[in-house]
């Protein structure tokens, strides 16, 4: 996340990552019609055992980012370094030995478990495939892992249809952690669950993270969940990271107008901040199409601060403090920005 002079080697280092989807997947032979710029040049670091939250509206590219990191998706360009290995360009086959170290928890606990497999099979399969425990010990390890996520070990013979949403998500978490990964990408892990169950699963993830020292990339549109769980937060808008900071800095002093709008929509978070921005900021309209994003700053079409310069110059992500960076031409006017940085935004690049 940070630009410390000598940061510890990051576990995950993403640089200028892009993913373009063909805008018209059906018209195979027609000429190139443009592309959905789902992720459009993002960079971030995640240290071992760290937690980075990615927030943003629907369609901002959060899921695509997570799927790129888990290499379910092939990047169009850019680099993904995981534990010092460039994995962005690895083939399916080359990727397989590394797979175990990057696991994923999916949003929908009804879809992420095979309906034809018992809980025991679902958990034993990856253990066997990676030979993590001697053949005789698989059963015991499966029961151990079930206990770890707070499930009754007798659930091994159940089918997913016999479990509640919360129980299924616990199984999914157990499956991800059973193979002892170093990074877990969790894409909206609780948003499909009942509100009453959400807190339990978040707490479970929190406990497991502390206990096992696994790094988490937590994707969520729920700012309260991210605040609860993550040390660092990145805010995405239309395929870009517009602001990134440590949790406290971001939640107490959001600098990007988009972040401010997001925060103002959440009563909990609003109450927690210093008190001046209590009013709700309503963003006009929908996000523009990611096929043809606006010129200059992508947020300008919905921004109440937009000026002429915003349409011409794409604001770079600039460092406000060592842990807080924001991509807005006017961010300096609202924060304690060092004087020497004031001229930097607005220079045509």
């Amino acid at each position: 996340m940070t630009h410390d002079p000598a940061p510890p080697d990051p576990l995950l280092a993403v640089r200028d990552l892009r993913k373009l989807f063909p805008a018209r997947p059906t018209a195979r032979r027609s000429r190139f019609q443009g592309a959905v710029r789902a992720v459009d040049g993002i960079s971030f670091d995640l240290r071992p055992g760290g937690t980075l939250g990615i927030v943003g509206e629907s369609g901002s590219g959060k899921t695509t980012t997570g799927r790129l990191v888990a290499r379910l998706e092939q990047p169009t360009s850019g680099s993904i370094r995981f534990a010092g290995t460039e994995i962005g360009a690895l083939s399916r086959k080359e990727m397989r030995p590394l797979r175990r170290q990057i696991q994923m928890v999916f949003q929908d606990p009804y879809g992420s478990l095979n309906p034809r497999q018992t809980v025991g099979t679902a958990l034993a399969t990856p253990l066997r495939a990676h030979a993590l425990v001697p053949a005789g010990g698989v059963g015991r390890r499966v029961r151990e892992v079930l206990e770890l996520v707070g499930l009754d070990p007798r659930h091994v013979d159940r089918y997913p249809a016999d479990l509640s949403g919360g129980q299924r998500q616990r199984v999914a978490v157990a499956r991800a952690l059973a193979v002892e990964p170093r990074l877990v990408v969790a894409d909206e892990p609780v948003s499909a669950l009942d509100v009453s169950v959400q807190a339990q699963v978040v707490n479970l993830l929190q406990d497991l993270r502390r206990e096992l020292g696994v790094a988490f990339l937590l994707i969520s549109h729920d700012l309260a969940v991210v605040r609860h769980f993550c040390d660092d937060v990145a805010v995405m808008y239309l395929g870009r990271i517009v602001e990134t900071a440590d949790r406290d800095s971001l939640y107490t002093r959001p600098l990007h107008p988009y972040t401010q709008a997001l925060m103002s929509a959440v009563p909990d978070v609003r109450r927690g901040t210093s008190g001046e921005r209590l009013h709700r900021i309503r963003l006009p309209g929908e996000p523009p199409s990611p096929v043809s994003p606006p010129s200059g700053c992508r947020f300008r079409t919905r921004c109440w601060r937009a000026q002429e310069v915003c349409a011409q110059v794409d604001p770079p992500l600039l460092e406000i403090t060592p842990t807080h960076r924001v991509a807005c031409h006017f961010a300096g006017e609202f924060g304690a920005v060092p004087a020497d940085r004031e001229g930097a935004p607005g220079q045509p690049g």
Binding site: G111, S112, R116, D162, A172, V197, Q200
Partner: protein, 337 residues
Amino acid sequence: MSTTADLERLAEDLAAEARPDRAGTGVSPHRTALRRLRSDPVAVVSGAVVLVLVLLGLLAPLVTSLWGIHATVGHPDAPRPSEVLLFDGYPAVGPPYEPFTWQHPLGLAPRTGVDNLATLLYGLRTSLGVAVVATVLTTLVGVGVGLVAGFVGGRTDRVVSFVIDLFLSFPFLLGALALAPIVVSRFSTDPDGLALAQVVALVAVLVTFGWMGLARLIRGQVLSLREREFVQAAVVMGLSTRHILLKELLPNLVAPIVVAVSLSVPAFVAAEAGLSYLGIGLTGVPSLGQTINQAVDSFERYPLYLWAPVLTVMVLVLALNLLGDAVRDAFDPRTRR
């Protein structure tokens, strides 16, 4: 914290109650389908009919030898044609001229004097055998091709889809018509080889033109299953493609495969009869279609000779189809009428 825990327990209880037959029992969904099938009267009756016909076919050698009848011309124990045939070629015992006799319940064939019941039983055996072998092979090819095309996608999928369209557009009957004389002339000097070659050629034709439907169905199912999160989870787990195809995808395709199989057996029985009737199927071994073909000429004088195989084919195909429909309803309740 305790209240949320209570709430979750309540929610779980409610969810469990909503599925009284499944709750906490660990019953696989396929077992439920089989249970549904067993309580469907149509399935039970048609299944019983199919079972009887299959047993008759399987036990044809036993039944005929117990009865003392023979399905081949010139069998050493069989009466010589001249002993049982009149001067006009029609049998001297049993129908059409003489009254019913238990020795030959369905009479004798004109001109050859072979017992009709024996021919029917062996024909049943051939028809079912050909249909089952063809079904097994089309299922293997169709499922294999569909799985790979759907999962690998990209160029492989496009090539496979094109090949499927190509085979679908090729006239099936023309292929069979072209193949038959080639096989016959190739094996003209070797009657045993001819019989075998005809069976192989018939199965080959049925399979060659029979795998596309299932391949297309499976491909479509895989395309949608592939995006399901449990398949993505298997990829993230680093499981091999082989494992994903056979252990993650295939078990979720059992229902469509069972349905396709149960509907393709009667289709192949009918196709075999049709081809043999047209004279481009089997001639070396008894088959239902071939008997029908021969019986048509003497229908005016000897209707029983034709009716017996025609009714057998009808009952067999009808029972298989009803059973297939029942299987489909049991495995896929959404399509239930």
